[in-house]
Point group: C2
DNA sequence: CACCCATGTTAATGGTCACTAACATCGGCG
DNA sequence: CGCCGATGTTAGTGACCATTAACATGGGTG
Protein backbone atom coordinates (compact mmCIF):
# COMPACT_ATOMS: atom_id res chain seq x y z
CA UNK A 1 0.00 0.00 0.00
CA UNK A 2 2.84 2.34 0.65
CA UNK A 3 5.36 0.88 -1.76
CA UNK A 4 2.87 1.22 -4.64
CA UNK A 5 0.68 4.25 -3.89
CA UNK A 6 -2.69 3.74 -5.52
CA UNK A 7 -3.38 6.13 -8.37
CA UNK A 8 -0.19 8.03 -7.81
CA UNK A 9 1.12 7.69 -11.32
CA UNK A 10 -2.34 8.41 -12.65
CA UNK A 11 -2.50 11.66 -10.70
CA UNK A 12 0.99 12.59 -11.80
CA UNK A 13 -0.05 12.06 -15.41
CA UNK A 14 -3.08 14.30 -15.00
CA UNK A 15 -0.96 17.06 -13.51
CA UNK A 16 1.91 16.83 -15.96
CA UNK A 17 -0.40 16.65 -18.95
CA UNK A 18 -2.33 19.69 -17.76
CA UNK A 19 0.89 21.70 -17.52
CA UNK A 20 2.02 20.62 -20.95
CA UNK A 21 -1.36 21.17 -22.58
CA UNK A 22 -1.56 24.64 -21.07
CA UNK A 23 1.88 25.50 -22.31
CA UNK A 24 1.87 24.07 -25.83
CA UNK A 25 -1.69 23.06 -26.63
CA UNK A 26 -3.18 19.57 -26.81
CA UNK A 27 -2.14 18.70 -30.35
CA UNK A 28 1.43 19.83 -29.90
CA UNK A 29 2.05 17.69 -26.83
CA UNK A 30 3.28 14.20 -27.62
CA UNK A 31 2.44 11.07 -25.71
CA UNK A 32 6.17 10.77 -25.11
CA UNK A 33 6.39 14.28 -23.64
CA UNK A 34 3.77 13.37 -21.09
CA UNK A 35 5.48 10.09 -20.27
CA UNK A 36 8.85 11.74 -19.88
CA UNK A 37 7.36 14.35 -17.54
CA UNK A 38 6.39 11.62 -15.07
CA UNK A 39 9.49 9.49 -15.50
CA UNK A 40 8.19 6.86 -17.89
CA UNK A 41 7.97 6.47 -21.65
CA UNK A 42 4.95 7.46 -23.73
CA UNK A 43 2.99 4.22 -24.13
CA UNK A 44 2.94 3.71 -20.34
CA UNK A 45 0.07 6.17 -20.47
CA UNK A 46 -2.18 3.42 -21.83
CA UNK A 47 -1.93 1.54 -18.54
CA UNK A 48 -3.83 4.40 -16.89
CA UNK A 49 -6.01 5.93 -19.60
CA UNK A 50 -7.61 4.63 -22.78
CA UNK A 51 -5.72 7.27 -24.74
CA UNK A 52 -4.57 10.83 -25.01
CA UNK A 53 -8.05 12.20 -25.59
CA UNK A 54 -9.42 10.40 -22.54
CA UNK A 55 -6.62 11.92 -20.47
CA UNK A 56 -7.65 15.39 -21.56
CA UNK A 57 -11.24 14.45 -20.83
CA UNK A 58 -10.38 13.40 -17.30
CA UNK A 59 -8.58 16.68 -16.72
CA UNK A 60 -11.42 18.87 -17.96
CA UNK A 61 -14.21 16.94 -16.29
CA UNK A 62 -12.32 17.04 -13.03
CA UNK A 63 -11.73 20.81 -13.12
CA UNK A 64 -15.31 21.50 -14.07
CA UNK A 65 -16.60 19.31 -11.28
CA UNK A 66 -14.35 20.90 -8.72
CA UNK A 67 -15.34 24.41 -9.74
CA UNK A 68 -19.03 23.60 -9.81
CA UNK A 69 -18.95 21.78 -6.48
CA UNK A 70 -16.96 24.51 -4.82
CA UNK A 71 -19.34 27.11 -6.17
CA UNK A 72 -22.34 25.24 -4.82
CA UNK A 73 -20.75 24.83 -1.40
CA UNK A 74 -19.63 28.42 -1.11
CA UNK A 75 -23.04 29.79 -1.98
CA UNK A 76 -24.81 27.33 0.29
CA UNK A 77 -22.59 28.24 3.21
CA UNK A 78 -22.67 31.99 2.72
CA UNK A 79 -24.65 34.42 4.83
CA UNK A 80 -26.63 36.36 2.25
CA UNK A 81 -26.02 37.23 -1.41
CA UNK A 82 -23.33 39.81 -0.70
CA UNK A 83 -21.26 37.34 1.27
CA UNK A 84 -21.95 34.65 -1.33
CA UNK A 85 -20.63 36.85 -4.10
CA UNK A 86 -17.47 37.65 -2.18
CA UNK A 87 -17.01 33.96 -1.43
CA UNK A 88 -17.41 33.08 -5.11
CA UNK A 89 -14.90 35.71 -6.09
CA UNK A 90 -12.38 34.59 -3.47
CA UNK A 91 -12.88 30.95 -4.35
CA UNK A 92 -12.43 31.48 -8.05
CA UNK A 93 -9.40 33.69 -7.53
CA UNK A 94 -7.79 31.11 -5.27
CA UNK A 95 -8.38 28.48 -7.92
CA UNK A 96 -7.00 30.64 -10.72
CA UNK A 97 -3.89 31.47 -8.73
CA UNK A 98 -3.30 27.91 -7.58
CA UNK A 99 -3.98 26.14 -10.85
CA UNK A 100 -3.28 28.45 -13.77
CA UNK A 101 -2.66 25.49 -16.06
CA UNK A 102 -6.09 24.04 -15.37
CA UNK A 103 -7.73 27.41 -15.90
CA UNK A 104 -5.96 27.79 -19.21
CA UNK A 105 -6.71 24.32 -20.51
CA UNK A 106 -10.26 24.54 -19.27
CA UNK A 107 -11.48 26.96 -21.92
CA UNK A 108 -8.91 26.33 -24.63
CA UNK A 109 -9.14 22.61 -25.33
CA UNK A 110 -12.83 21.92 -25.11
CA UNK A 111 -13.09 21.11 -28.80
CA UNK A 112 -10.64 18.23 -28.52
CA UNK A 113 -13.02 16.29 -26.35
CA UNK A 114 -15.42 13.51 -27.17
CA UNK A 115 -18.97 14.70 -27.80
CA UNK A 116 -19.96 13.09 -24.54
CA UNK A 117 -17.16 14.61 -22.46
CA UNK A 118 -17.76 17.97 -24.06
CA UNK A 119 -21.44 17.88 -23.17
CA UNK A 120 -20.59 16.92 -19.62
CA UNK A 121 -18.05 19.68 -19.17
CA UNK A 122 -20.38 22.24 -20.69
CA UNK A 123 -23.20 21.22 -18.38
CA UNK A 124 -20.93 21.63 -15.38
CA UNK A 125 -19.66 24.98 -16.62
CA UNK A 126 -23.23 26.16 -17.17
CA UNK A 127 -24.12 25.10 -13.64
CA UNK A 128 -21.23 27.08 -12.25
CA UNK A 129 -22.18 30.17 -14.22
CA UNK A 130 -25.79 29.87 -13.07
CA UNK A 131 -24.57 29.72 -9.49
CA UNK A 132 -23.04 33.15 -10.00
CA UNK A 133 -26.06 34.44 -11.89
CA UNK A 134 -28.35 33.25 -9.12
CA UNK A 135 -26.41 35.19 -6.52
CA UNK A 136 -26.16 38.29 -8.68
CA UNK A 137 -29.85 38.28 -9.48
CA UNK A 138 -30.46 38.71 -5.77
CA UNK A 139 -28.21 41.72 -5.44
CA UNK A 140 -29.51 43.25 -8.71
CA UNK A 141 -33.08 42.01 -9.16
CA UNK A 142 -33.67 44.65 -11.82
CA UNK A 143 -31.00 43.34 -14.21
CA UNK A 144 -32.15 40.73 -16.73
CA UNK A 145 -30.49 37.33 -16.57
CA UNK A 146 -28.80 37.49 -20.01
CA UNK A 147 -26.97 40.62 -18.94
CA UNK A 148 -25.90 38.97 -15.73
CA UNK A 149 -24.66 35.97 -17.67
CA UNK A 150 -22.58 38.17 -19.94
CA UNK A 151 -21.25 40.02 -16.90
CA UNK A 152 -20.28 36.75 -15.24
CA UNK A 153 -18.41 35.62 -18.36
CA UNK A 154 -16.64 38.95 -18.41
CA UNK A 155 -15.58 38.61 -14.78
CA UNK A 156 -14.33 35.11 -15.46
CA UNK A 157 -12.20 36.57 -18.20
CA UNK A 158 -10.86 39.09 -15.74
CA UNK A 159 -10.10 36.56 -13.01
CA UNK A 160 -8.68 34.03 -15.45
CA UNK A 161 -6.19 36.56 -16.75
CA UNK A 162 -3.83 35.29 -14.07
CA UNK A 163 -1.79 33.14 -16.46
CA UNK A 164 -1.00 36.31 -18.43
CA UNK A 165 0.36 38.12 -15.40
CA UNK A 166 2.48 35.28 -14.08
CA UNK A 167 4.80 36.49 -11.40
CA UNK A 168 4.25 40.18 -11.91
CA UNK A 169 2.92 40.52 -8.37
CA UNK A 170 3.12 38.56 -5.13
CA UNK A 171 0.24 36.15 -4.85
CA UNK A 172 -1.61 37.83 -1.99
CA UNK A 173 -1.36 41.19 -3.68
CA UNK A 174 -2.63 39.74 -6.93
CA UNK A 175 -5.54 38.13 -5.10
CA UNK A 176 -6.52 41.43 -3.54
CA UNK A 177 -6.24 43.25 -6.84
CA UNK A 178 -8.44 40.73 -8.63
CA UNK A 179 -10.98 40.74 -5.83
CA UNK A 180 -11.23 44.51 -5.91
CA UNK A 181 -11.48 44.69 -9.67
CA UNK A 182 -13.95 41.83 -9.92
CA UNK A 183 -16.20 43.23 -7.24
CA UNK A 184 -16.08 46.68 -8.80
CA UNK A 185 -16.88 45.30 -12.24
CA UNK A 186 -19.91 43.44 -10.92
CA UNK A 187 -21.15 46.35 -8.83
CA UNK A 188 -20.43 48.92 -11.52
CA UNK A 189 -23.10 51.50 -12.31
CA UNK A 190 -23.29 50.56 -15.98
CA UNK A 191 -23.80 46.87 -15.31
CA UNK A 192 -27.39 47.26 -16.38
CA UNK A 193 -26.30 48.64 -19.72
CA UNK A 194 -27.93 52.01 -19.27
CA UNK B 1 -6.07 45.91 -62.12
CA UNK B 2 -9.73 45.39 -61.50
CA UNK B 3 -10.13 42.01 -63.10
CA UNK B 4 -7.40 40.60 -60.87
CA UNK B 5 -7.69 42.44 -57.55
CA UNK B 6 -4.25 42.60 -56.01
CA UNK B 7 -3.99 40.67 -52.78
CA UNK B 8 -7.65 39.80 -52.68
CA UNK B 9 -7.15 36.08 -52.37
CA UNK B 10 -4.39 36.72 -49.88
CA UNK B 11 -6.71 38.77 -47.69
CA UNK B 12 -9.42 36.15 -47.95
CA UNK B 13 -6.94 33.52 -46.82
CA UNK B 14 -5.95 35.61 -43.80
CA UNK B 15 -9.57 36.05 -42.78
CA UNK B 16 -10.67 32.49 -43.35
CA UNK B 17 -7.62 31.08 -41.59
CA UNK B 18 -8.21 33.34 -38.59
CA UNK B 19 -11.77 32.08 -38.25
CA UNK B 20 -10.72 28.48 -38.53
CA UNK B 21 -7.78 28.83 -36.14
CA UNK B 22 -10.00 30.53 -33.60
CA UNK B 23 -12.58 27.80 -33.83
CA UNK B 24 -10.45 24.66 -33.90
CA UNK B 25 -6.90 25.68 -33.06
CA UNK B 26 -3.92 25.99 -35.38
CA UNK B 27 -2.83 22.36 -35.40
CA UNK B 28 -6.32 21.04 -36.03
CA UNK B 29 -6.90 23.16 -39.11
CA UNK B 30 -5.74 21.56 -42.33
CA UNK B 31 -4.25 23.35 -45.31
CA UNK B 32 -7.20 21.94 -47.26
CA UNK B 33 -9.74 23.41 -44.83
CA UNK B 34 -8.27 26.85 -45.38
CA UNK B 35 -8.23 26.41 -49.14
CA UNK B 36 -11.81 25.18 -49.22
CA UNK B 37 -12.93 28.18 -47.15
CA UNK B 38 -11.76 30.54 -49.90
CA UNK B 39 -12.87 28.42 -52.83
CA UNK B 40 -9.58 26.80 -53.76
CA UNK B 41 -7.74 23.66 -52.79
CA UNK B 42 -5.12 23.45 -50.04
CA UNK B 43 -1.82 23.81 -51.89
CA UNK B 44 -2.98 27.05 -53.55
CA UNK B 45 -1.99 28.61 -50.24
CA UNK B 46 1.67 28.31 -51.22
CA UNK B 47 1.13 30.84 -54.02
CA UNK B 48 0.47 33.45 -51.34
CA UNK B 49 2.41 32.39 -48.26
CA UNK B 50 5.56 30.35 -47.68
CA UNK B 51 3.55 27.95 -45.53
CA UNK B 52 0.94 27.47 -42.87
CA UNK B 53 3.11 28.86 -40.10
CA UNK B 54 3.85 32.02 -42.08
CA UNK B 55 0.13 32.51 -42.60
CA UNK B 56 -0.43 32.39 -38.87
CA UNK B 57 2.48 34.76 -38.43
CA UNK B 58 0.98 37.26 -40.86
CA UNK B 59 -2.32 37.13 -38.97
CA UNK B 60 -0.81 37.70 -35.55
CA UNK B 61 1.63 40.39 -36.60
CA UNK B 62 -1.16 42.23 -38.36
CA UNK B 63 -3.52 42.16 -35.35
CA UNK B 64 -0.78 43.24 -33.00
CA UNK B 65 0.20 46.10 -35.26
CA UNK B 66 -3.36 47.29 -35.66
CA UNK B 67 -4.01 47.22 -31.92
CA UNK B 68 -0.76 48.98 -31.09
CA UNK B 69 -1.24 51.63 -33.78
CA UNK B 70 -4.84 52.26 -32.81
CA UNK B 71 -3.83 52.56 -29.17
CA UNK B 72 -1.14 55.09 -29.99
CA UNK B 73 -3.51 57.17 -32.11
CA UNK B 74 -6.32 57.12 -29.59
CA UNK B 75 -4.09 58.26 -26.76
CA UNK B 76 -2.40 60.91 -28.88
CA UNK B 77 -5.73 62.32 -29.97
CA UNK B 78 -7.41 62.27 -26.57
CA UNK B 79 -8.01 65.28 -24.39
CA UNK B 80 -6.47 64.25 -21.09
CA UNK B 81 -5.91 60.90 -19.39
CA UNK B 82 -9.56 60.35 -18.51
CA UNK B 83 -10.64 60.75 -22.12
CA UNK B 84 -7.68 58.66 -23.27
CA UNK B 85 -8.69 55.80 -21.01
CA UNK B 86 -12.27 55.88 -22.25
CA UNK B 87 -11.03 55.98 -25.82
CA UNK B 88 -8.79 52.98 -25.21
CA UNK B 89 -11.65 51.07 -23.64
CA UNK B 90 -14.02 51.90 -26.49
CA UNK B 91 -11.42 51.11 -29.10
CA UNK B 92 -10.54 47.77 -27.62
CA UNK B 93 -14.18 46.85 -27.13
CA UNK B 94 -14.97 47.73 -30.72
CA UNK B 95 -12.11 45.55 -31.86
CA UNK B 96 -13.14 42.65 -29.65
CA UNK B 97 -16.72 42.82 -30.86
CA UNK B 98 -15.80 43.19 -34.52
CA UNK B 99 -13.05 40.61 -34.67
CA UNK B 100 -13.59 37.96 -32.04
CA UNK B 101 -11.62 35.44 -34.08
CA UNK B 102 -8.55 37.65 -34.13
CA UNK B 103 -8.84 38.32 -30.42
CA UNK B 104 -9.05 34.62 -29.73
CA UNK B 105 -6.18 33.59 -31.95
CA UNK B 106 -4.09 36.48 -30.73
CA UNK B 107 -3.36 35.04 -27.30
CA UNK B 108 -3.90 31.37 -28.01
CA UNK B 109 -1.54 30.55 -30.85
CA UNK B 110 1.54 32.58 -30.03
CA UNK B 111 3.63 29.49 -29.38
CA UNK B 112 3.13 28.21 -32.93
CA UNK B 113 5.10 31.13 -34.32
CA UNK B 114 8.68 31.41 -35.44
CA UNK B 115 10.98 32.79 -32.78
CA UNK B 116 11.25 35.94 -34.83
CA UNK B 117 7.53 36.42 -35.35
CA UNK B 118 6.88 35.65 -31.71
CA UNK B 119 9.36 38.30 -30.59
CA UNK B 120 7.81 40.82 -32.94
CA UNK B 121 4.27 40.12 -31.76
CA UNK B 122 5.32 40.25 -28.14
CA UNK B 123 7.05 43.57 -28.61
CA UNK B 124 3.92 45.01 -30.17
CA UNK B 125 1.73 43.60 -27.43
CA UNK B 126 4.04 45.04 -24.81
CA UNK B 127 3.85 48.42 -26.48
CA UNK B 128 0.07 48.32 -26.43
CA UNK B 129 0.01 47.39 -22.76
CA UNK B 130 2.42 50.18 -21.94
CA UNK B 131 0.13 52.61 -23.73
CA UNK B 132 -2.59 51.70 -21.25
CA UNK B 133 -0.20 51.72 -18.32
CA UNK B 134 1.02 55.16 -19.31
CA UNK B 135 -2.48 56.56 -19.29
CA UNK B 136 -3.40 54.84 -16.05
CA UNK B 137 -0.28 56.05 -14.31
CA UNK B 138 -1.54 59.58 -14.88
CA UNK B 139 -4.93 58.96 -13.35
CA UNK B 140 -3.45 56.96 -10.44
CA UNK B 141 0.07 58.28 -9.92
CA UNK B 142 0.25 56.56 -6.53
CA UNK B 143 -0.11 53.05 -7.94
CA UNK B 144 3.12 51.26 -8.87
CA UNK B 145 3.55 50.26 -12.51
CA UNK B 146 3.59 46.47 -11.92
CA UNK B 147 0.15 46.70 -10.33
CA UNK B 148 -1.10 48.76 -13.25
CA UNK B 149 0.27 46.22 -15.66
CA UNK B 150 -1.51 43.39 -13.89
CA UNK B 151 -4.69 45.46 -13.84
CA UNK B 152 -4.43 46.09 -17.57
CA UNK B 153 -3.98 42.39 -18.27
CA UNK B 154 -7.02 41.71 -16.14
CA UNK B 155 -9.12 44.25 -18.02
CA UNK B 156 -7.98 42.73 -21.32
CA UNK B 157 -9.25 39.41 -20.03
CA UNK B 158 -12.55 41.04 -19.23
CA UNK B 159 -12.91 42.76 -22.59
CA UNK B 160 -11.71 39.74 -24.53
CA UNK B 161 -14.35 37.55 -22.94
CA UNK B 162 -16.59 38.53 -25.85
CA UNK B 163 -16.07 35.26 -27.73
CA UNK B 164 -17.48 33.44 -24.70
CA UNK B 165 -20.67 35.47 -24.70
CA UNK B 166 -21.36 35.24 -28.44
CA UNK B 167 -24.83 36.48 -29.20
CA UNK B 168 -26.09 36.64 -25.66
CA UNK B 169 -26.67 40.37 -25.98
CA UNK B 170 -27.12 42.86 -28.83
CA UNK B 171 -23.83 44.37 -29.82
CA UNK B 172 -24.46 47.91 -28.56
CA UNK B 173 -25.69 46.62 -25.24
CA UNK B 174 -22.67 44.37 -24.90
CA UNK B 175 -20.38 47.29 -25.70
CA UNK B 176 -21.96 49.42 -22.98
CA UNK B 177 -21.78 46.60 -20.48
CA UNK B 178 -18.11 46.00 -21.15
CA UNK B 179 -17.31 49.69 -21.03
CA UNK B 180 -19.03 50.07 -17.68
CA UNK B 181 -17.41 47.00 -16.19
CA UNK B 182 -13.97 47.82 -17.55
CA UNK B 183 -14.07 51.38 -16.33
CA UNK B 184 -15.32 50.27 -12.92
CA UNK B 185 -12.60 47.65 -12.64
CA UNK B 186 -9.89 50.16 -13.45
CA UNK B 187 -11.30 52.85 -11.16
CA UNK B 188 -12.08 50.41 -8.38
CA UNK B 189 -11.11 51.36 -4.83
CA UNK B 190 -9.03 48.22 -4.34
CA UNK B 191 -6.98 48.70 -7.50
CA UNK B 192 -4.03 49.62 -5.34
CA UNK B 193 -4.28 46.31 -3.54
CA UNK B 194 -5.02 47.81 -0.15
C1' DC C 1 8.68 -20.90 -3.74
C1' DA C 2 5.72 -20.31 -8.13
C1' DC C 3 2.12 -17.63 -10.32
C1' DC C 4 -0.02 -13.47 -11.63
C1' DC C 5 -1.26 -8.95 -12.12
C1' DA C 6 0.09 -4.33 -12.48
C1' DT C 7 3.28 -1.58 -15.04
C1' DG C 8 6.80 -0.76 -18.21
C1' DT C 9 9.69 -1.09 -22.36
C1' DT C 10 10.93 -1.25 -27.31
C1' DA C 11 9.58 -2.01 -31.97
C1' DA C 12 6.05 -2.14 -35.33
C1' DT C 13 1.99 -0.15 -37.90
C1' DG C 14 -1.19 2.91 -40.13
C1' DG C 15 -3.15 7.20 -40.69
C1' DT C 16 -2.72 11.85 -41.16
C1' DC C 17 -0.77 15.94 -43.00
C1' DA C 18 2.33 19.80 -44.65
C1' DC C 19 4.81 20.47 -48.41
C1' DT C 20 6.59 19.61 -53.35
C1' DA C 21 6.35 18.13 -58.30
C1' DA C 22 4.40 18.13 -62.63
C1' DC C 23 1.08 19.64 -65.22
C1' DA C 24 -3.02 23.11 -66.58
C1' DT C 25 -5.29 27.64 -67.55
C1' DC C 26 -5.80 32.19 -68.70
C1' DG C 27 -5.38 37.11 -69.08
C1' DG C 28 -2.37 40.74 -70.67
C1' DC C 29 1.31 42.41 -73.41
C1' DG C 30 4.74 42.49 -77.05
C1' DC D 1 -1.55 35.75 -82.46
C1' DG D 2 1.82 33.51 -79.19
C1' DC D 3 4.57 33.86 -74.96
C1' DC D 4 4.80 34.52 -69.95
C1' DG D 5 3.79 35.07 -65.30
C1' DA D 6 0.39 34.41 -61.88
C1' DT D 7 -2.47 31.12 -59.91
C1' DG D 8 -4.51 26.53 -59.56
C1' DT D 9 -4.99 21.48 -59.71
C1' DT D 10 -3.99 16.63 -58.83
C1' DA D 11 -0.70 13.20 -57.31
C1' DG D 12 3.03 12.03 -54.83
C1' DT D 13 6.33 11.87 -50.67
C1' DG D 14 8.27 11.79 -46.29
C1' DA D 15 7.62 13.03 -41.41
C1' DC D 16 5.44 12.66 -37.60
C1' DC D 17 2.84 10.38 -33.98
C1' DA D 18 -1.03 7.90 -31.53
C1' DT D 19 -1.87 3.42 -30.83
C1' DT D 20 -0.88 -1.58 -30.50
C1' DA D 21 2.05 -5.87 -30.21
C1' DA D 22 5.24 -8.59 -27.99
C1' DC D 23 8.03 -9.04 -24.56
C1' DA D 24 9.98 -7.92 -19.54
C1' DT D 25 9.96 -7.45 -14.43
C1' DG D 26 8.99 -7.51 -9.82
C1' DG D 27 6.22 -7.62 -5.74
C1' DG D 28 2.33 -9.78 -3.30
C1' DT D 29 -0.27 -13.88 -2.43
C1' DG D 30 -1.73 -18.64 -2.41
Amino acid sequence: MVSRPAGDRRTALLGAAAELFAERGYRSVLIDDIGRAVGTTGPALYRHFPGKQALLGAILVDVSERLAARGRDLVAGADGPGAALTALLRGHIEFALDEPALITVHDRELHHLTEEDRRRVRRLQRGYVEEWVGVLSQTRPDTPAPVLRAAVHAVFGLLNSTPHSRGELPRAHMADLLLGMGAAALAGPAADGS
